[in-house]
């Protein structure tokens, strides 16, 4: 047990010192070195919102807009309520040389996304668990112990409604942000074709920092959907999933 605690403490200490080293390199404008330091932490299978945020900043200062947006998106997923992450993400996206026009979002999806946007998946999931436990408690009172009184019956209905709302939002968040495969365009020259081949016609010229949804894949290509609902095929190496 003592050995495990010792290993855990030394691992945390190593990550913290790497993080501090990255910050120092960033302050000295050695952005490429800072990126290396931060990535060493990731190589140890450790992630945090602050780590992704700092990586995004280092990439941005290093002139790599695609990777900057990629890591800001990862940071936002872990800490959606962090205003600094949101600010830097929006700021970076404004520098993409191609701006999405004609973006028409589904109003229901937009509404649900706006509801869950500021909350972590873990917060929604634990809230749902709490409501579920309370709901089960009222069911036990009513059907397990036979308390057929009005307060218990009302409790069942109210907690059921809460449960439907919280579980619905949790499911939406999970599907929207985790099950749907999304990626950021990271390459400067990122041609999108009408088919899964470089011999196909060019659908559009994308730019680093644009976010796409991956619909399917075929050999070296992904079929991607842009925010303005234009779709096409792009080489796998030109985008990075988040």
């Amino acid at each position: 047990m003592f050995t495990y605690i010792l290993i855990f403490v030394s691992t945390v200490s190593a990550q913290t010192s790497l993080f501090k080293e990255g910050n120092k390199q960033y302050e000295q404008k050695e952005y490429a070195k800072a990126i290396e330091s931060y990535k060493q932490i990731l190589n140890n299978n450790i992630e945090s919102a602050a780590l992704y945020f700092n990586l995004g900043n280092a990439y941005f200062k290093n002139g790599d807009l695609g990777h900057a947006v990629l890591y800001y998106m990862k940071a936002k997923r872990l800490a959606p309520d962090d205003s600094a992450i949101r600010h830097n993400l929006e700021f970076a996206q404004r520098f993409s040389s191609v701006q999405m026009e004609g973006v028409e979002l589904n109003p229901v999806t937009s509404f649900l996304a706006s509801l869950v946007d500021s909350y972590k998946l873990s917060f929604l999931a634990w809230t749902t668990s709490f409501v579920f436990i309370f709901f089960m408690f009222t069911l036990i009172l009513r059907f397990g112990m036979g308390y057929n009184i009005s307060i218990v019956r009302v409790g069942i209905v109210v907690t059921l409604l809460f449960l439907l709302v919280t579980s619905g939002l949790t499911t939406f968040k999970y599907r929207y942000e985790y099950l749907t495969k999304r990626a950021v365009i990271i390459a400067e020259d990122s041609t999108v074709y009408t088919g899964a081949s470089e011999q196909s016609d060019v659908e559009l010229e994308a730019a680093p920092g644009l976010i796409v949804e991956i619909l399917s894949e075929s050999s070296d290509f992904y079929n991607v959907l842009f925010e303005n609902k234009r779709r096409g095929w792009i080489k796998k190496g030109l985008i990075a999933e988040f």
């Binding site: 913290t16 990731l42 299978n45 450790i46 873990s122 999931a125 634990w126 668990s129 089960m136």
Partner: protein, 602 residues
Amino acid sequence: MYKKSLLLILFLTFCILSKVHADKNVFNIDVSLDRDTIGMDEQAVLQIIVSGDSQNLPTPHIPTFSMFDIETRGRSSNFSYNNGVVETSVTYNYLLLPKRPGTFPIDQISAVYNNKRYKGNKLNLTVLQDGTTVSNDLTKRAVNASGKSKDYFLEAIVDNKNPYVNEQITLTLKFYISVQFYGQPELTEPTTTGFWTELIGNKTPYSQRINNRQYKIIERKYALFPTQIGELEIGRAMIRTTVQSKRQSRRRTSLFGGLFGGGEEVSIRSNLVKIKVKPLPQNGKPDDFSGTIGRFTISSSVNKKTIEANQPLSVTIKISGKGNIKSVAEPKMPKLDEQFRIYKASTSENISKAGNKIGGTKIFEEVFIPKRPGDIEIPAITYNYFDPASKRYKHIATKPIKLKVTKPEGYVASGDVPYTAPNLTISSNARDIQYIKENIGKTQPIGHLVLHDPLYIFVNTVPLLIFAGMIAVRVRKEKFAGDVGLARSKAALREAKRRLTKAKSIAHTNSAAEFYVEIYAAVTSFIADKMNISPHGLTIDSIKTLLTEKNAEPELISQIEELLKHSDFARYASSSMTQENINADLDKAQNIMVDMSGVSFE
């Protein structure tokens, strides 16, 4: 009240924006003719387009042309507001009626604004003597091999067969037809490999007399920009249409001929056109030349001239003119690392096709963030292009812009580190990325998901199991409450064990009678409970009968008979029972209970 205030603010904003951009006042005057050759009995349309980024465009001045009568044919205006830039154009149309034959220049068309004269481009218009505009070439092409004039033919003409690479040439397809045709002619576009092609559009059909025959002419124009040097070929265009058949035209008097006689479908191909594209001269070619060809102007503007340090300043650079506007590259910024952080914000372009020439405006927006307070100047931003008309490289530049950068409250000079407010927190409105985080914060394994966390699964499973267990207990209770026999049967073994436990606790010679009462009751009660009958009426014989009916082993039946008889005897002669007897009987009773559990009493 609020609505009025809002409108007032919008109006003022619009006026201010217009004022900011009015500082530049870049105008263009494009002069074009619908035809460059007309006959004495024909007329040409002169079109003058005045465009610029001001709302108050000057009216063009038309000089007196002694060889033409001029009639005005009205004006139209167009207004657009794009990326904060006002774009206005006014088109004036005039009809030119020739007075005498010859080739005449159309020039000196100009407009004056703020004491500066802006001139339009120069054109020539040829008026032919004999009342026909037809050149010898066209006259020949309108005749077939047998010397008869053609009913229809398709001609492809370019205005320049020896352009520079990336210089615009105009391809005109003219479809001449002198017979009746039905429906809309179907065009197969010419192949233009080696060119970047932009359609200019179709012209309103007009008529022309060739070889004493009246032709209707349908005209379509394209702008072609050669993208490679050498000999290029513009392929044949083809028109398919249905014309009145020869047989039908001979029966012109027939009432139904035109309606039901049916036409003849024909395919007409144009001539091939060869273009020899020459390279740009190397002499005088600037180092930072980006390949733009045409005639352009450049201007720049800022959204404010007084600004706080570390606040964003929007700088708009605008390149306008004639040429392939898509090929206009971003102007090279002067080195300003000491004064500003510069970010590219957006690029937009407006393409115009005035006067059959592709042109327009490309707008580059940049965000400049001044690093320090003081008087700073954005120096001239330069651009180079090649002007094919003068065959020279031209260098254009914006005017320098002077800025006053003020010191924000709590300013501390600090290299390239973003400005930090006195409370040491970066403002969320600051127009730069917010600074890195000092601490790594809460860490977790990559890809960790709460939904897969064993604790989360456990917490959600436990209440479900508790509920299921309580429901099961409740159902069981209700089931037993409604079925006494089942309840007794299920409780039989438990009750028998309880009695045996009690017997064991009193298994000594002093309580032998009581011990055997419990042993007897344990066996008989078990059988009675299992069969849902009263234990009081049970005799050893009736037990034997019942067990036989239930197919119990004969050995078990005899063991039970022996134990019950022995217990019955011992209750009344307990003093004769030794401790060994008692212990042996307890073992027997326990074994019998185990064996009886295997008997099916249902």
